[in-house]
Assembly symmetry: C2
Homo-oligomer: 273 residues x 2
């Protein structure tokens, strides 16, 4: 019976921690909800931390002291990241993904909750040490990845829109040169969406020349934001020279051969370093 | 030591099940990853099902037989749904949310990973018995809610775009009358995004007259989709007559008083029935 009580607590704690990654729960939270003594809760959490570490389930961090607590971070090891990106590349190489015009169909993966959640954990693992305060993306296809990254890091997601909406109050806008269709576009963010001077990471699904990320950076400069990291799912190998320097992609796309229905891509070699 | 082994298995199982809601895992999956006998895994899962039920952590379903398995559904009780929607209403009533023009600022909540995850569980709870095969939304603000609903139900998310993108192959388009800005807009979905005849649910953030949902239904008719449910986060009390009949909102917005900075809204009374 005592064992069952302990098992029950461990299961309930695991559920609470996984439901809200990166959120710090006080010991008091668990003594109240589980009706257990502080020392018992503390022992349970130490045990949980060890199990998560031993089985590579992510990281459980405990903070000692009066203001102590615990949180779960769904961080992957480098091997875990590489294995996941390899799996993604296999999926992306399917000839059925070649679209007229030599484009690559990725929308199903980007909008898959399972894939976006796993890829969000990857971006969280790459950037969490930089202590970001918000995740930024631009509509539309970057949203699932950015949302899941924000979820893994326990941060708000801020989404830049292409037109300023009347329904969101005063907004800042910039124009930028979009790489994919080679034309000037507009980006806009409501003033109230982001506090001044925040540390942010940028997440997007695709980068060719980097014009969109460049535009995001210009817009965020108006908020005095500090961009501490930029992650994109797929970048094209060409142009080699991008208009942004500091970024990391998970997959590098060499070529889509429309006639042979062949997709040449690979995990970004920088991930293995 | 034997107790610790059991605790370890229970924690690892909980993690696996929560990471991929609605996905069925075979007993064999756990015998392999945990190195335990089938009967042991089976006992553990029965215990886990009871704990989840007793502590109201969501539902664990076990399927007996050779093709047997287990899955986790993050379903809320009616009380759980009502408590969450009450909490949302409290947050939405803040005078600081009143925008020029009498609009209500909700973007921060919609794009919050914590809120969208919890609200996704609500929509999943309302619709899972209708056995949907995909979740459909329209860009942009419906995406986080719809993604999290799809996550809770283990389904793909299909996002309708406002312009047909060259990068996604042949697409079907419809025009519709948007309620909020009273003008004709365009909606488009690539042919390959949804198989013919699928059972789908529609999720969106806001409904005034219902023109957008009507447009979605017209577009989905071209895919012979069966719309088995429609959920919106907030609907306006007026117009009383919407252009769609079958839908459920979580919150009914009576009025936004721009001068008094007052927001009149309440949980949809239909949720309590």
């Amino acid at each position: 019976m005592a064992d069952n009580k302990r098992s029950e607590r461990l299961v309930a704690m695991t559920k609470t921690l996984l439901d809200q990654p990166a959120t710090i729960f006080s010991l008091g939270h668990f003594t109240q909800t589980l009706g257990a003594a502080k020392s018992t809760v503390s022992e349970d959490l130490t045990y949980l931390r060890e199990v998560f570490s031993a089985l590579d389930l992510g990281r459980i961090e405990t903070f000692p002291g009066v203001a102590g607590g615990v949180r779960y971070l769904p961080l992957l090891s480098q091997e875990g990241i590489l294995a996941l990106v390899e799996e993604l590349c296999l999926k992306l190489r399917s000839p059925q993904r070649v679209l007229p015009g030599g484009f690559l169909y990725m929308t199903d993966i980007i909008f898959s909750p399972q894939w976006s959640a796993r890829l969000g954990d990857v971006f969280a693992s790459l950037f969490y040490e930089r202590a970001p305060e918000a995740v930024i993306t631009v509509e539309t296809k970057g949203i699932p990845l950015a949302l899941m990254t924000a979820r893994a890091l326990g941060l708000p997601l801020v989404t830049i829109r292409h037109d300023s909406r009347v329904t969101e109050g005063p907004a800042v806008s910039v124009t930028y040169l979009s790489g994919s269709d080679r034309r000037m576009s507009n980006m806009s963010l409501p003033r109230r969406a982001l506090p001044t001077g925040a540390r942010v990471i940028l997440i997007d699904d695709f980068m060719r020349a980097g014009g969109t990320v460049r535009g995001m950076m210009d817009l965020l400069a108006e908020f005095q934001a500090q961009v501490v990291g930029t992650g994109v799912l797929v970048e094209t190998a060409r142009p080699v020279e991008k208009v942004v320097q500091e970024y990391i992609s998970l997959v590098v796309l060499e070529q889509v051969d429309e006639v042979q229905k062949e997709v040449l891509l690979a995990p970004n070699p920088r991930l293995a370093k």
